[in-house]
Symmetry: C2
Subunit: 385 residues, 2 copies
Amino acid sequence: MTPLPGSAGDVLTLISAGSATTRSDLAKLTGLARSTISQRVDALIERGLVEETESGESTGGRPPRQLRLHTEEHAFAGVDLGATHCRVALMDISGEVLAECEDGLLIGEGPETVLAHVDQRLDHLLDRVGRPRSALRAIGIGVPGPVEFATGRPNNPPIMPGWNDYPVPEYFDGVEVLVDNDVNVMALGEHRNAFPGASHLLFVKVGTGIGCGIIAEGTLHRGAQGSAGDIGHIRVSGHDDAGCRCGNSACLEAVAGGAAIARRLSELGLSAESGGDVVALVQAGDTQALRLVREAGRLIGEVLAGLVNFFNPEVIVIGGALSRVHEHLLAGIRETVYRRSLPLATHHLSITPSRTGINAAALGAGILAIEHYLSPDNINRIVNA
Amino acid sequence: MTPLPGSAGDVLTLISAGSATTRSDLAKLTGLARSTISQRVDALIERGLVEETESGESTGGRPPRQLRLHTEEHAFAGVDLGATHCRVALMDISGEVLAECEDGLLIGEGPETVLAHVDQRLDHLLDRVGRPRSALRAIGIGVPGPVEFATGRPNNPPIMPGWNDYPVPEYFDGVEVLVDNDVNVMALGEHRNAFPGASHLLFVKVGTGIGCGIIAEGTLHRGAQGSAGDIGHIRVSGHDDAGCRCGNSACLEAVAGGAAIARRLSELGLSAESGGDVVALVQAGDTQALRLVREAGRLIGEVLAGLVNFFNPEVIVIGGALSRVHEHLLAGIRETVYRRSLPLATHHLSITPSRTGINAAALGAGILAIEHYLSPDNINRIVNA
């Protein structure tokens, strides 16, 4: 990867990070010729990406013009598709949420139905904030299953019938679409909103299944095939009799996921079919449910203890449906991680419930779209088009 | 981290990567003013980092001068300190090995004795290639224990008595010293020499203990406290009776490390005290040793199966003393990883013995030193000094 220092994309990065607020800042920081700076800035203004105001601080003479992101011109969308819901956030280029909505929606209705719903919600939200459809530059979508990130196609997603290999980005005309696994966008949303200073963060989603989003050096780690973070099928000890839908046994998800806990509760004669039922029983003070959630925390903690030794994160965030009873889950997780991980790796480790909560996925999907749009390569492509 | 595009460091990166071979290449790639390019290039030539030749291809007129790294001026050293050996490689700025040597040396003699030996070997090697001591710009050192990378101080290393918190870099005058865990520099050496195109690589060292070096997006992943890759203390199932020196039980290292295998062999009445003895027994065709090495491979594979799901590497390299009998170790590792990891993550995964072999640590330590020296920030500091 060869750097191309001094491109329009680099100039925009300096402006959006707040490192340069005037043309002379840019000249000082980059060493570019004044004429080149003017060319770059003018192109960015012409594309509606940057605005230049007169409101600079007076230094005796003419006040210097201030450069900043032009937040009026563009719009971005973050879409969180769950098994049974659809949440859409409309954002400006700075990441500010302009409007949002949530509806019940079954992912199993298939891509055409679900994406038509999303499309209609986008129109609705754009209308609400008074921006034309043409202002929409990029859409990020989080889905509850594995995705080939480069093409935006779901890859054999177990709970998304009809979606396998469906070219999601092609559904939307004239706008870039990025599709990713829900736990990846949750990790991104949580990191950018709640822990922007953490270099290494794990976001663990404990719902029906169990998955993990990985932030390394501030960016999403997807791995060689984009399947990184699939911790639900890591083996836990002492449960070789627990079969898993993946064909193996003793998988973490098969013993500690919301569906597994619900099944064990129903075997005990309680009425529980889903992670939501487990949460309700815990909130009602049922001691069997409490015990099983804490035991699930210990098993999740056993897997995380190994990952703490291996990856050495500074923050582990626990999210997903079961994190609504996070005190019991966290107690089990913390107990095991602090017992089994190396002291050097846990000394400054924080294990915490999600702060972004149910908004993490929609926000993260929107941030994915904005960061892609603002990447120097993409900006250079736009400016040189 | 704010980019400073167009600095002398960026210009040197373009030259050393081979992306720019002339001043006009640099002008085209960076958009810098010609006068700025001249200033940057002249400063790099003055510091002996770049040379400019007349040997360019003729284009009818005057042949353009060619820019390239000046490989005569500087020297770098890679030092591999093991429990019982010291290997030193002297390299030029392009990573070419100029000379190397290896001696027996006990790390337990303590830092003063060991570093005096290294110092003397450096003089000897510099002398051999006819470069003055003042040409030595940076030294990379790999040690068999945890290190606080930022300060170069070993951090409670179990097999390095006298080294805890010792300020290794301060021992050497007038030269930058980078100290890292041996398995980290092995991962770097293996990646740069044998798998430069792999974005995500794990280097697993199976010796007396077991450790892992992690390459993510082509760079070393050290984690939040620099302890990443410490996989020797991850729990394996079914071995809760095996106590570990860390105070826990069922740690991978306590059941599958060279020392653990040797102990089990001596319990069976065989003469084995170390990983080296285990290797000798396997090479002599002892079936008990064969069986235990393959079983160790299965246990290592159990841990790696989880890490493959989590990290999704494209290459896992097996190195360390026991990799000398890698066919038996690899059979066990592969068997378990392919059985326990998700098909998406193993489909393109390659599990392979180290190609760089016993040179991986010294080469990797030298590369660590060179890459640090050539980093844009360091070059800018040198040029602006």
